[in-house]
């Protein structure tokens, strides 16, 4: 890793918060914790599809390689609206596009950030998901080269052969530390 610092003082953004849920949205009752109910629920395997939020949940906590104490979400590098599907939720093959925004256009860490998103999703999404990772249009000076690099299977595989790189990668994937 180069010692050059691309953005020493990045802007921090508020992270999203969830709304209070007092009960299940459709429920009339505040708590339906009858034990008999629970047994029934336990075997209930009605499908809950993987959605935008679930994918965002996977990548929001990755820490920034330049600022280990901050997450990609805090720096607004990734956000839920930047995740999109181009096929209906029921189809067996699904294409997902994850877009991210480097904090500065000359950010030399962008490849690394993209790679960390790639690896997290590679490990966490079922095989039927095909993931495309792109930088937000106009947010980086070498946008095309970056996009190409991040979606080239062989180059990703080659990068993961480098033990030093993988070590830093694991640290970032483990999440913000301080």
């Amino acid at each position: 890793m180069s010692a050059e610092i691309f953005n020493p003082n990045p802007t921090i953004f508020a992270t999203t918060k969830s709304k209070t849920t007092y009960a299940k949205p459709s429920s009339l009752w505040l708590d339906e914790s009858d034990e008999s109910d629970e047994d029934e629920l336990d075997g209930n395997n009605e499908r809950e599809e993987i959605d935008q939020d679930e994918i965002f949940e996977l990548i929001r906590s990755i820490s920034d390689p330049e600022h280990r104490s901050m997450t990609l979400e805090q720096l607004a590098v990734v956000s839920a609206p930047q995740i999109s599907f181009d096929s209906p939720s029921s189809s067996s093959r699904r294409n997902v596009t994850v877009e991210f925004t480097p904090t500065v256009p000359h950010c030399g860490m962008s490849t690394f950030i993209g790679l960390s998103i790639r690896v997290r999703l590679l490990r966490s999404l079922p095989n039927r998901f095909k993931v495309e990772i792109r930088v937000k249009p106009g947010s980086h000076q070498s946008e095309n080269a970056l996009n190409k690099q991040l979606n080239d299977k062989e180059r990703v595989a080659a990068a993961l052969e480098n033990p030093a790189l993988v070590e830093v990668l694991e640290q970032c994937l483990a999440g913000a530390t301080a």
């Binding site: 003082n9 505040l30 490990r123 999404l125």
Partner: protein
């Protein structure tokens, strides 16, 4: 006094014997021969030939014997003259390399004697300096030298001071180069005395060299160190030297700076902590001279911290630095109103400059520094506030900076809170004497914060800031607090996210402690009026969410006694309104299907709120909870009794089992805080109502209870609503004291009746449980009154019901359930009958129809529950679980291993898993290695719950921190565990969500428990198989799968 010739001869003999044996006996005998004489002259005489021997060994032994005798000699018996002679003698022996070791021992004893004089001290120290070459001596001997010096310094300090320079140079040469931690502890202690009490002006550099060369301490005690010297001991005694004199300052600071820049995290931390102790001693001028350099280094640790620990230490050191620089002139500065100059101003300016961009990441550490300044000196704190607060206020009001209002308020709130928590406040000062530094900016800050409340993005930090202000003593007037409450009330009607709601509640709750009036007069009426009188219809999800939110607010705000009373009054009125007859409109009359469930659900939420607040109050020990036995309970009983008696269908709403269950909780909560007398009075009304049919005895309400209807809930022909009310009959009973008897002529018969009712009549599980729980509770508290009842159960009842194979299976299961509760009542008090009751359960293990139910009960009888508790005045003996576990475990293990019948074997496995699940971890941990094979078999039982319990047990005992303990146990079975877990986490094979989750969790911890080489062959399989689980239909399962798979990816050798 002189010694007899006979004695002299005996001493001579003893000396000779010792020379060949070296035993302690001779030493002791010699001491007793001479102790009356007060002189060791005869020993020296007897030793004569040895002491002058040409050979080395006799000389050494000779001096050694004398030292030993001296060491055991009664100290007060040695005359001044003898001491003098001995000092000279031992000093003489220091020159001889063969005798120096025992001679030092002798001197070490002499130093402690009462007749040891200052002149001796000077002689000894000079001899030491002259003859002792520390490098030639081993650790223990060097230790003796330090002990001698230490003893001399302790008792003859002035004499040594008289030696001046010679003493210091001599000692420095002696101590230089010492490396052993045991010796260093002494050397550091000596150095501290020298630095503080001796004139060290000319030797600062030498002393610096023999102390600072040890900084930082990197010593790690070897395992099982018999001397038990810790790194901390060394660090703190060394610090005692480093901070002993201001003269060290100019030399020390550059060294500290070097360690701070180049050191490891541990060194950095040690250096910062040492600086904290040293700076105040080194003084203002040293601190001022090095201020810039120190600040530049400290700043680095705050803005780019190595870790949060060091960041906190660096902030602390910055505080110490500022305090050191400014404390001496603070009092004068305050008097003259002099401006702050120097580091505080420069650092402040630097931080404020960074705060021009409050949204950037550097703003946070900059604020931390400013906050740290709040606890330095009053004038610096005042100066910092005067710089930071107006700056942030201006920034907030600047229209160009509008997008950055949220971070601006965040920083402002941090500063308000730091000012509040400043350590500068004098806790003893009277409230009106306290000058609150923030007062000067009160109005503009309050203004900015109330503006901040109005926008969604800024409301959270604004609320935090307001809380900071409200909780600052003496800052806001009562009127201003009212103003804050008024502004916050406006937020109540909006649907905010959880964080904001939490902050609102937090602020209002802290106000309710100091100024409840504002809450009760403005906030609560607002909340109460926002609660609808009628339940919103099923489709009105938003309305429903709103009343839930309002109730959640009330729950938090109404714990204080006056506010709670208000809550009870308003909510019971609301309940009456919900259940009052609807003035039916003509359309509704035609529409037969009126949806009443939302009303029941609304009432349920209200009751839930009351129960939750009561629980908080009872847990806190609020005494006002008592009075609600008269104020709340009759209203609630009336509600439900009415519903059970009414013939109009709409009135039946309040009989809903879910509502009755919450009321039962309320009843038990209130009952448990009553006195014995109050309980007795209530109980007699309760029996009058439920047994004698006088329903109004416990009820009190607006609508008259229907006449002519029978209230006999125990009757077999009672309607289901009435039967359900049995729960309200048993809920007070479970909270009775053991002094309270049941108001019935024959208590045995009554329990019999209740038991049979539970088995034969009760409609639902919760009714049945309620009956059994009441029986268990009464038996637990008054076991001796029911011995006949219990023996009847054992001798007759069991055989005719559960023990009888021709009884219907369902009925037998109910009896087992009742049996479980009664056994539990006995077990928790270690009662002798427990074993007999448990035996009956074991008897059923070879009956396949009920064996699993009986086996599960083995665990249930010892599981903790919410009924038989201390709070409910149950009789509980400590360690009953341990005792029970030890008594049944051998039987279960035996059964699970030996039994010929696989059916029966399985029952024992079920019992084992149920038992382990029910008892505290510490009870079974030591048995776990031997139980592992059985538990693994439990994982093959065709029951998801049992499997999940087993895995949860594994999880509970899987502690990566104590790897040594778990590793051997798990490693042995590691690969079979992996395949079992994989089987149980696939949705195709395992429908239970809970089991899939448990299995995945265990897969996720395995890599931290087992050495990589053992599971290496399975890594690829696990990763491949888990890829399938990533597509599980349930989100919660997928989440665990991600976690587990990530851990396996990272699992490497």
């Amino acid at each position: 006094m002189s010694i007899s010739p006979e004695a002299e001869e005996r001493v001579e003999r003893l000396v000779r014997t010792w020379m060949s044996t070296g035993r302690n006996e001779e030493v002791d005998l010699t001491v007793s021969e001479l102790s009356d004489v007060g002189s060791l002259l005869s020993v020296v005489k007897a030793l004569g030939e040895f002491l002058t021997s040409e050979e080395d060994e006799p000389r050494t032994k000779g001096v050694e014997f004398l030292s030993l005798v001296l060491g055991r000699f009664p100290p007060e018996k040695l005359s001044r003259q003898s001491v003098r002679v001995l000092v000279t003698f031992f000093r003489g022996k220091l020159e001889d390399t063969e005798t120096i070791v025992p001679a030092l021992e002798g001197l070490a004893t002499l130093v402690t004697l009462p007749n040891f004089a200052s002149s001796d001290a000077i002689d000894i120290i000079q001899s030491l300096f002259k003859h002792v070459k520390m490098r030639a001596l081993v650790q223990s001997v060097r230790f003796t030298v330090f002990t001698i010096v230490d003893g001399l310094i302790a008792k003859h300090r002035d004499a040594l001071k008289g030696l001046g320079k010679d003493f210091l140079t001599g000692y420095i040469a002696l101590a230089e180069g010492e490396k052993d931690p045991r010796n260093l502890l002494l050397a550091f202690a000596i150095a501290r005395v020298l630095l503080i009490e001796f004139d060290v002006t000319d030797h600062v550099e030498d002393l610096f060299n023999i102390t600072f060369c040890y900084f930082p301490i990197t010593f790690r005690p070897p395992p099982d160190d018999p001397y038990r010297i810790t790194t901390e001991d060394l660090k703190s005694t060394l610090r005692g030297c480093l901070n002993a004199t201001p003269l060290f300052g100019p030399l020390a600071i550059p060294l500290f700076l070097e360690k701070l820049t180049a050191g490891t995290p541990n060194t950095k931390k040690d250096t910062l902590q040492t600086l904290d102790e040293c700076l105040p001693i080194y003084g203002a001028s040293v601190a001022r001279a090095n201020a810039r350099k120190l600040w530049n280094t400290l700043k680095l640790e705050i803005f780019q911290p190595t870790n949060s620990d060091i960041e906190a230490e660096a902030l602390k050191t910055t505080q110490v630095l500022i305090q050191t620089i400014y404390s001496d002139k603070d009092s004068s500065a305050e008097a003259t109103g002099e401006e702050i100059e120097g580091l505080a101003r420069e650092a402040c300016d630097e931080c404020i400059k960074i705060l021009k961009e409050p949204e950037k990441s550097q703003a946070k550490p900059a604020t931390k520094i400013l906050c740290a300044f709040m606890s330095t000196t009053p004038s610096v704190a005042k100066f910092t506030l005067s710089q930071a607060v107006p700056h942030l206020v201006k920034l907030f009001l600047n229209p160009d900076e509008a997008p950055n209002r949220a971070p601006t308020l965040r920083l402002l709130s941090d500063i308000i809170i730091a000012a509040r928590d400043s350590t500068l406040h004098n806790a003893d000062a009277l409230p009106d004497e306290v000058v609150v530094p923030l007062s000067a900016f009160k109005d503009e800050v309050l203004g900015v914060l109330t503006v901040g409340l109005k926008a969604t993005s800024t409301s959270r930090p604004a609320l935090d800031g307001l809380k900071g202000m409200v909780t600052t003593q003496g800052l806001l007037t009562d009127e201003e607090v009212g103003f804050v409450v008024h502004n916050v009330n406006e937020l109540l009607s909006e649907d905010e996210d959880e964080d904001v709601s939490e902050a609102i509640l937090d602020l209002l709750t802290s106000i309710s402690v100091t100024a409840p009036r504002h809450i009760s007069q403005t906030t609560l009426p607002l909340l109460f009026t926002s609660l609808p009188d009628r339940a919103p219809p099923r489709s009105a999800e938003n309305e429903r969410h709103k009343y839930w939110r309002t109730l959640a607010f009330l729950k938090r705000l109404c714990v204080q006694s006056d506010l709670f009373e208000m809550l009870v009054v308003r909510l019971t009125t609301k309940l009456d309104l919900i259940f009052s007859p609807t003035p039916l409109s003509s359309e509704e009359e035609t529409d037969e299907q009126v949806d009443d469930e939302p009303s029941a659900a609304y009432a349920h939420s209200i009751l839930r709120t009351l129960a939750d607040v009561l629980k908080i109050k009872v847990d806190k020990g609020d005494v006002d909870a008592q009075k609600y036995i008269d104020r709340l309970l009759p209203r609630l009983y009336h509600l439900h009794n009415f519903a059970s008696l009414s013939t109009i269908e709409r009135d039946w709403l309040a009989a809903d089992a879910r509502l009755v269950n919450v009321t039962a909780e309320i009843v038990t909560l209130i009952m448990q805080v009553q006195t014995v007398q109050k309980q007795e009075i209530f109980l007699s009304s309760l029996f009058a109502a439920f047994i004698d049919g006088e329903a109004k005895k416990v009820a009190e309400g607006l609508r008259k209870l229907p006449e002519g209807k029978l209230f006999l809930p125990f009757d077999t022909s009672a309607n289901s609503r009435q039967k359900n009310l049995i729960i309200l009959f048993t809920s007070p009973i479970i909270a009775l004291y053991k002094e309270v008897k049941l108001p019935t002529p024959d208590e045995d018969a009554f329990l019999d009746k209740l038991l049979l009712w539970g088995i034969f009549v009760a409609n639902t599980n919760s009714e049945r449980e309620a009956a059994f729980q009441a029986i268990a509770s009464v038996i637990n508290k008054r076991t001796s009154s029911f011995s006949e009842f219990l023996s009847n159960l054992l001798e007759k009842f069991w055989i005719s019901t559960a023990g009888n194979r021709s009884t219907a299976v369902e009925r037998r299961k109910k009896v087992i359930n009742a049996w479980t509760w009664i056994t539990k009542a006995l077990l928790i008090q270690n009662h002798a009958l427990t074993q007999k009751f448990v035996d009956k359960l074991f008897e059923l293990f070879d009956d396949p129809t009920v064996s699993w139910d009986a086996a599960r009960s083995i665990g249930k009888v010892v599981a903790s529950d919410k009924v038989l508790t201390k709070r409910h005045h149950a009789t509980i003996k400590i360690l009953h679980a341990q005792r029970f576990f030890n008594s049944v475990l051998p039987r279960i293990v035996q059964g699970a291993k030996d039994s010929e019948d696989p059916q029966k074997q399985n029952a024992y496995l079920v019992a084992l898993t149920s038992l382990i699940k029910s008892i505290p971890k510490t009870t079974y941990t030591h048995e776990l290695p031997s139980l592992m094979p059985l538990l693994l078999r439990g994982l093959d039982l065709p029951d998801a719950e049992i499997r999940a319990n087993v895995i949860d047990t594994f999880l509970a005992t899987a502690d990566p921190a104590s790897k040594e303990n778990t590793e051997s146990m798990v490693s042995e079975h590691a690969s079979s565990l992996v395949s079992t877990m994989l089987k149980n986490c696939m949705v195709e094979e395992m429908p239970s969500v809970r089991l899939r989750i448990s299995a995945l969790r265990y897969l996720a911890v395995l890599p931290s428990l087992v050495r990589y080489d053992l599971l290496h062959p399975q890594k690829a399989i696990v990763i491949r198989e888990l890829a399938k689980v990533l597509d599980d239909p349930k989100r919660a399962v997928r989440k665990e799968a991600v976690e587990a798979r990530t851990n396996w990816f990272k699992y490497t050798g």
